[in-house]
Every structure is written in structure tokens, then in C-alpha cells.
């Protein structure tokens, strides 16, 4: 190592120190931004609670367990909406996660390089379609098609299950699940793709070197390495599904019933708030809608918390956090 050249001009060699103020003011600015987000969340929560106070006082905990929803008698309960939200979201996940992960696998592990970008672009376009458009398409194209073909098929082959019993109207829990699945497919696919792309090539090579076939490599080296992240992708999709409003409102049938049949219409927390806000004539009615909003927020938070706990028990590398 040659020694560093000595400074020749006086004063040189001491690096100029940048002024401290940009550093400090940036720190304050960043802190302020972070705090304002927290403040916003607290504010929204508080406002929701304030709006719901009347209903909370009137119905108490029974609100959550009651399936009454009757503006005429001013009796309100959240159960059908919680049920509808959960069921439609779970249907959506059951469809979208396998499809999204399979698409991501195809894109990262199988598709010829030239084909990848076009497919990715199409998927991103799907994500850019506004919710109401999915709703319209759902009402006029998807739901009739499901009603006349898919639902009939389910009824004939799996009709012995309570899930597929009962009359077929078209707008239904299942239709909502399918529409939401299509809507959360892009996010699940693109997050899964990022996760799969982050699997080191060395892992794949390790499996190939053992004489694994392509599918075995995907199974032992790619999917198992990525499983935490993929679970995270599913949770992210679930978060979207729970709060999805517009398209669901248009295809779910909007009836606050709890039915075992997926062909039956349902209602979700988000839909009922959006739908009945303008009709809420009494204070209690409005307050009940507020409380449904509160329940939706709480549901989302609880489900995310459960997901984080489950992630922790899933051993493996990589953080499952994608949110």
C-alpha cells in the first residue's frame, strides 16, 4: 500500500464538513410525516367510534351476534355482514391464490423470457381497471355466464353438498367471490412473482444437481423457500378482498341473510355501508352503519394480526412481511 499523498496546499486534507441543518431538518420532517400518519389513523378510528357510539350504546355486544337488520323496526345486527365479508373473501382467496401463485411460477420458472414481459403487462393492466368496471362486467357478463353454466354444473355434480344447494339467482356469494378473485389476482400475482424471483438461483441449482426434475425443483427449492413470502402475498390479497366494495355490491345480491348455500345472495360490511348510507334516515341507522365500518376495520386488523402470528410459526427464510 502506498501512503496517501500529503496535502500540498494549506488547509487541504481536512474534508469540508457539510452543514448540519439539512440533516436535522430532514429528520424533523420525516418524523412529522410519520406522526401525521399515526394521527390520521387515530383520527379515523376515533371518528368512526364517535359515529358508532349511539349504536354501541343501544345494542352493546349483541350487535356483533345479531342477524337482524331491519330499518323499519330500527333493529340492527352485524352478523350477516361479517359472514358475507368473510365468506366472499375466502372464496376469492381460494380461487386467486392458487391461480396467482401458479401464474407467478409460470412467469418466473417456465415461460420463455420473451413471453414474460407481455404477460406481466397484461396483469398490471388488470390491476388498473377500476372496481366499478369489474362490477359492470360482473353484472352483465360474468354473473349470467356463471348462472347459466358454472353454477348449473356445480349444482349437478356437487349438489349433494349444502354449499351448492338451493335456487340459483345469479347474484350470489359465489359470484362475488369470483369477481373479487379476479380483482385481487394482479396483486397476488405480482407480489408472488417478486417473492419467487428473490429465491436464489443457487437453491434451484442445488436441487437440479441432485437430479431433480423441473417440477421437483419448484417444489423443494422454490416453493418451500418462498412459502413465507407467498403466505404474505395471500394475506395482502385477503386485506384487499375484505375491503372491496363497489364490484361486490354490484354482484353479491345485497341481502343480509346467512345461508349455507353459496348460490344465495349475501351482503358485506363494505357494501352495506356504501349502499345504505344515503338511505339512513334515523340516527340509529346511521350509527349502525358507522359501527359496521368499525367492525370492518377491526376485522382487517385482527386477521392481519393472526396472519403475522401464523407467519412466525412458519419456519423458513425471508421475511413474510410484504405490507
Amino acid at each position: 500500500m502506498s501512503p496517501l499523498p500529503r496535502p500540498t496546499t494549506p488547509g487541504a486534507g481536512i474534508l469540508p464538513v457539510s452543514p448540519r441543518w439539512p440533516d436535522r431538518s430532514f429528520r424533523w420532517l420525516a418524523l412529522l410525516a410519520a406522526l401525521s400518519i399515526v394521527a390520521l389513523i387515530v383520527l379515523v378510528g376515533w371518528e368512526l367510534y364517535a359515529g358508532a357510539a349511539l349504536a354501541v350504546k343501544k345494542f352493546g355486544v349483541g350487535f356483533l351476534g345479531s342477524s337482524d337488520w331491519n330499518p323499519v323496526t330500527d333493529k340492527y345486527g352485524a352478523l350477516p355482514f361479517i359472514f358475507g365479508t368473510l365468506v366472499s373473501s375466502v372464496i376469492a382467496l381460494l380461487i386467486a391464490v392458487p391461480l396467482g401463485v401458479a401464474t407467478a411460477l409460470f412467469l418466473t420458472e417456465m415461460a420463455p423470457v420473451r413471453m414474460r414481459q407481455p404477460v406481466i403487462t397484461v396483469i398490471e393492466m388488470l390491476a388498473a381497471v377500476p372496481s366499478v368496471i369489474f362490477g359492470l362486467w360482473g353484472v352483465f357478463v360474468l354473473v349470467p355466464w356463471l348462472r347459466d353454466h358454472v353454477f348449473q354444473w356445480f349444482k349437478h355434480t356437487l349438489g349433494f353438498l349444502p354449499l351448492f344447494k338451493g335456487p340459483i339467482y345469479g347474484p350470489s356469494m359465489l359470484a362475488a367471490g369470483v369477481v373479487v378473485a379476479i380483482m385481487i389476482l394482479p396483486i397476488i400475482t405480482s407480489v408472488s412473482r417478486e417473492i419467487l424471483r428473490s429465491v436464489p438461483n443457487l437453491q434451484r441449482e442445488a436441487a437440479y444437481a441432485l437430479g431433480a426434475t423441473h417440477w421437483e425443483v419448484i417444489r423443494i427449492a422454490v416453493l418451500s423457500y418462498a412459502r413465507r413470502g407467498l403466505f404474505g402475498a395471500a394475506v395482502l390479497g385477503l386485506g384487499r378482498a375484505l375491503g372491496e366494495t363497489m364490484a361486490v355490491t354490484m354482484v353479491i345480491g345485497n341481502r343480509p341473510d346467512i345461508s349455507a348455500s353459496l348460490f344465495a345472495p349475501g351482503y358485506t360490511l363494505a357494501s352495506v355501508v356504501a349502499n345504505e348510507f344515503t338511505e339512513a334516515t334515523t340516527d340509529v341507522y346511521l350509527s349502525a352503519l358507522f359501527e359496521l365500518g368499525l367492525v370492518l376495520v377491526a376485522l382487517t386488523i385482527v386477521i392481519n394480526a393472526i396472519a403475522q402470528l401464523m407467519l412466525r410459526t412458519l419456519a423458513g427464510p425471508g421475511s413474510g412481511k410484504v405490507m
Partner: protein, 284 residues
């Protein structure tokens, strides 16, 4: 584009001339034995870029063959061609023939997975499967082959871990994740994983370059044990290592096989001036 080969940078290489192993008898090439690999006129391209030029080499069975040469000369490429791993890189193309104990590995209808079951590989960076335990890591190759017999798996587990000199260190923690081991242990775990399927040949691409001297010494010892049962081909940048643990050495330069002879010959009396310059650290 022709890449100019950089000088061997290792400072020790220029000062310490590696000495041929003293204890080992000069390895006689078993002329009658079928060579493990018989490679004739082998060239390889990455797209339009040629990485190997007309390589012909006979790698004897149950010996350790070292591949040395400056960075970018095609050592890894050559090694990966031996079990068709290069095919994972899109756009590669080969010409020439490569036989493993007489079987043409590139014959049409030969499944690369079959080739890789016969020719195992250990990588520069250890890569145990992080979601698997130590035990699962070792046995994954057998399980892929559909072996379900518990007693047999147990036996193979111990045998492989003993062969890779890891058994004593891990026998009580077989259920811990493979990634909970130290770097050197992980590399030996990867060796155990490769050995468990009992390949005919074990390829090693700079298996010690990420390890400290003690872990390196362990792996070198291990290689000495392996040569009793397996054929080993090892790529190394460390010429002392090549001198210490190989029977034969191949020197590559810019994609060409320059010289291939008994290790002692290569290090004490190389026939080619380029080889001489490289092994003595005076390159160019």
C-alpha cells in the same frame, strides 16, 4: 470479445511455490481402467460467445482431478458441462462428445436429471435448503428418488454424514435447520447431501473459497477420503490446494485445455511454458 486473463492475484501464489505432495506416491494413470469421463473435442458457447475450445480430456476413475486456471478461463463452465448443469443457462450450445464410463451423456433421449443423479455437484457457496432440517437436507435426494424405507434412509444418513466428516458434530441435532450450522459445516452438509445419492462422480466448484483455513483443511481431508470410493473433479483457485489434494491437474487458459498431467508433473515439471508461468505465479 476476448477477455484478457488477469494475473493471478493471490500474493501467496507469487511467493510460495506450491510443492508437490510428498507423502503421496506419483499417481499412476490406470491405463486399463475405463476413465470416468472421456471428453473428446468438446466446445461450448454461451450464445455467440465461445467459452470452451475443443477440449479433450480423460478423467480417471477414483482419483481427484483438479482444474486450475485464471479467472474466466472456463473452469466452472467445463465442470458444469460434466453434469449438464450449463443447460440451465439459456442459449448454451455444445459440440463434441462426453462419455461417463462409456455412456454418452449427451446422447439424445438422455435425461439431464439422470446425468445429475450419476454426477453430483457441490457449489462454491454452500446452499442447504433452508426450510429443511439437517436430516432432510441429506436425504432429500433419496426421497426424490422415491426411497421410503426408514431403516435404509437412516443408514444412508449416518453413512453420508460420516463420509463428509460431519456426523460427530451434528448427530444430536439432526432436526435443526440446515442453515443453523456454521459455514464450513454447511458446506460439508452439502457434500453429504450430494453423497447420499451415491453418485459416481462428485464435482466441486471452489468448495473452500468461502471457508476459513480450518474448515478448508477439513474439506481437503474429506476429499482424500472420498477418492477411495468416488471420482472427484475439483475446481480451485488455490494452487496449494490443487497440489495437496489432487492426483491429476488440468490447466485451462482462455477456454482451452493447455496441459493435463499428473499433479506432481504440473507443479514441478510442466511441459507448457504457460502452465509453468501460471503455477509459479509469473503469469504472461
Amino acid at each position: 470479445m476476448v477477455q484478457t486473463a488477469p494475473l493471478p492475484v493471490s500474493s501467496s501464489a507469487s511467493t510460495v511455490r506450491p510443492s508437490a505432495p510428498a507423502s503421496k506416491p506419483p499417481p499412476a494413470v490406470p491405463v486399463d481402467d475405463l476413465p470416468a469421463f472421456d471428453i473428446q473435442g468438446f466446445s461450448l458457447w454461451y450464445g455467440s460467445r465461445q467459452a470452451l475450445y475443443d477440449v479433450s480430456i480423460r478423467i480417471p476413475a477414483r482419483q481427484v482431478t483438479a482444474i486450475i486456471g485464471p479467472s474466466g478461463c472456463g473452469k466452472s463452465t467445463c465442470l458444469r458441462a460434466l453434469n449438464r448443469m450449463h443447460e440451465l443457462t439459456p442459449g448454451t450450445r455444445i459440440v463434441g462428445s462426453l462419455r461417463l464410463f462409456g455412456d454418452d451423456l449427451y446422447a439424445s433421449g438422455i435425461d439431464p436429471a439422470y446425468v445429475r443423479r450419476r454426477v453430483g455437484m457441490v457449489f462454491q457457496k454452500s446452499n442447504p435448503f433452508p426450510t429443511m432440517s439437517i436430516e432432510e437436507n441429506v436425504l432429500v435426494g433419496l426421497r426424490l428418488n422415491g426411497v421410503r424405507d426408514r431403516a435404509f434412509l437412516q443408514e444412508r444418513l449416518e453413512e453420508s454424514l460420516r463420509m463428509s466428516a460431519l456426523w460427530d458434530e451434528v448427530k444430536d441435532v439432526l432436526n435443526r435447520p440446515g442453515t443453523s450450522l456454521s459455514g464450513g459445516q454447511q458446506q460439508r452438509l452439502c457434500i453429504a447431501r450430494a453423497l447420499a445419492v451415491q453418485p459416481e462422480v462428485l464435482l466441486m466448484d471452489e468448495p473452500c473459497s468461502a471457508l476459513d483455513p480450518i474448515a478448508t483443511a477439513k474439506i481437503e481431508e474429506l476429499i482424500q477420503l472420498l477418492r477411495e470410493r468416488f471420482t472427484v473433479v475439483i475446481v480451485t483457485h488455490n494452487m496449494q490446494q490443487a497440489a495437496r489434494c489432487s492426483d491429476r491437474t488440468a490447466f485451462f487458459y482462455m477456454g482451452k485445455l493447455i496441459e493435463y498431467a499428473a499433479t506432481r508433473e504440473i507443479f514441478t515439471n510442466p511441459a507448457n511454458p504457460q502452465t509453468e508461468a501460471y503455477v509459479s505465479g509469473r503469469f504472461g
